[in-house]
Amino acid sequence: MKRFGHVLILAAVAFTLACSPETDTETAGGDGPEATSGEERVTVAMLPKLKGIPYFNLCEEGARRAAAEENVDLIWDAPLEVNTSKQVQLIDDWLVRGMDVLALASNDPQAIAPSIARAKAQGVPVLTWDTDSPGTERDYFINQVDGRVLGRMMMDIMADELGGEGQFAIITGGLEAENLNFWMKYIKLQHTEQYPEMELVGVWHCDSNRQKAFDVATNLLQSHPDLDGIIGNDSAAFSGACDAVEKMGLQDRVEVTGLSMPSEIRPFVKSGVVDKFLLWDPRMLGYLTVKVAANLARGVEPEPGQLIEGYGEVRFDPEDADALIMAPPTVYTATNIDDFDY
């Protein structure tokens, strides 16, 4: 018994000590000029909203690829659930640890503002990505998609599939989600401007819950027998609508399109429910963010027309001089869907 205790104490001490040499190399990376590409090694800390969901895992994949190319030590971490105070704690600890650029996707722009200010006070440039924190001291926002283009493209796909006439409905995630409403605004604008022959029968919402979207769409299809199409404004709404159309055997009669990950919609493309749909590449978002961050760490500011290897030309939001916008979303169809492994 006693000996067992001694072994445990020794193990605890050993564990404590073992922590030090292992990480020496990692943290010292910021100042160690043992660069492979001739460029100084820099540290970029990237904070997604949370960890462990497929979307952010893909962002991480892209971020890691860019980090390897750019000689960047990437710190990628976040709370395991949506929690602003844990994000704040993590940023505080990172500021002690030391980093060259902070890139964050905050759950609450106002609550994260003091953390951004503390980073700026330490001379650390701050990027926001995926979700902006407007009104803070952040330097740039990397926007994954131009909401105007996205909304109009969804409407174009629907109109194209219906031949410019007929009835359609929109199912959105939640009525209060700012980004969804922004996209919907442009679906509606494109509808009234370009396709006046078509009729929007209404907008329903599903709390970003796939089961609820299924129920909503089922009711909708029963109460509107003449309905020709459904646009799903977020991934839950879209896939729920697909479920409903498939279960009711209406795939030849009703067109469905919207936004979602290829992995989620692939079966519906195969079964003929969906012809075309949209999404940006989450990996490209992580990739671009790290590329811009690495440039910032080396004193290169992003500017319109700047060429970024592996991505292309930098574009800015016409309405926000500090917001970069990623290339137009990818259109997935029956012919290309198998080219995407996510």
């Binding site: 445990l8 605890a12 030090s20 990480t23 971490d77 976040a78 704040v88």
Partner: protein
């Protein structure tokens, strides 16, 4: 008894010093003022709840609802502020909600004669559900500037968190030495005996749950004021962290044994470990693993090592007649 506790605490203290030393060697900024104040600020809410949890566990009970009480109180504060209440009345409302929650648990456990683990398991879901129901799961923020004073200003050069933690610790130490405090230990050791000895077991137990409800709300104020944002999931897992700290501190999960000093050391150990892992770049998933391993290791050591024998062999003998003490312990 006292001597054994002292030895346990010393072991925790040595572990803490070793951990801190290793972290300092790795990154000297670990001991910088800014980092130490970060550690303090981020862990004071946990400490407040862990102090309350010490009493709960001493009675042989448990409170799984503290994280949810924190969430509900924080939401109450947020909603009051959004409704235009003054900062003082909003904070008081938050404290009131916490004490109501604590009373709810206390009444069901004492008057209702229900087991604490079941009552507070239900309450954990009930209070969390209420927090989500009332706020619709939406973030609340944009509070008036005075609301963030408590969480972001200093007194005598140290954050308010420090003074608050110190005050609550002092209060708890005082409480522990009152008649009430002795009753808490007594009922944890043997509730029937405590009843037969004429102690007001039900009243004293009720007060334990009221106290922890109040402390959870106090922690909610610190959170809200610090971050300036409220969400219904605030404080998730905090109940388990608090229990971890208390047990790390050498308390018996079956009641009757444990000290506030031990709990304070437990909180410090967990806090330094988490901060250290953030500084070292250990990601959240593995931090959870490391915390679990630490708890199991410390408990395994506490349960198996005959402390008296260890100190005797090392020639450190402050425990009188260690063998007698140990046999009483078993």
């Amino acid at each position: 008894m006292k001597e054994i506790t002292l030895e346990r605490n010393l072991f925790l203290f040595v572990l803490l010093v070793l951990l801190a030393g290793a972290l300092y060697l790795n990154n000297p900024r670990f001991l910088s003022g800014i980092n130490l104040s970060n550690v303090l600020i981020h862990n004071t809410p946990l400490a407040l709840i862990a102090f309350g949890m010490t009493f709960v566990i001493l009675t042989g009970g448990i409170d799984l609802s503290v994280g949810s009480i924190l969430g509900l109180s924080a939401c109450a504060v947020g909603m009051a502020l959004e409704a235009g209440w003054s900062v003082t009345s909003s904070f008081l409302a938050g404290l009131g909600v916490g004490m109501l929650c604590g009373s709810f648990n206390g009444l069901l456990i004492t008057a209702g004669r229900m087991p604490p683990i079941l009552v507070t398991l239900g309450a954990m879901m009930l209070f969390r559900g209420l927090a989500f129901g009332f706020t619709g799961g939406e973030d609340m923020s944009g509070f008036p500037a005075e609301a963030s004073l408590l969480g972001n200003s200093r007194f005598l050069g140290l954050p308010w968190h420090f003074w608050m933690g110190l005050a609550v610790f002092a209060l708890c130490v005082v409480l522990r030495h009152t008649v009430w405090g002795r009753s808490v230990y007594a009922m944890g050791g043997n509730e029937t005996a405590a009843r037969l000895a004429g102690m007001a077991v039900d009243r004293d137990k009720f007060l334990v749950y009221l106290l922890i409800g109040w402390l959870s709300a106090l922690a909610a104020l610190l959170y809200t004021s610090r971050v300036g944002s409220v969400r219904a999931n605030e404080g998730e897992w905090l109940e388990l962290q608090a229990i971890t700290c208390v047990v790390l501190g050498g308390a018996s999960i079956f009641g009757g044994r444990g000290t506030l000093w031990g709990t304070a050391l437990g909180v410090a150990l967990l806090a330094v470990l988490q901060n250290g892992m953030n500084l070292l770049g250990v990601v959240q998933e593995w931090q959870t693993v490391a915390t679990g391993l630490l708890l199991i290791a410390v408990i395994a050591i506490n349960e198996r090592v005959s402390w008296s024998a260890v100190t005797k062999r090392l020639g450190l003998r402050w425990g009188r007649r260690p063998d007698v003490l140990e046999s009483r312990e078993r």
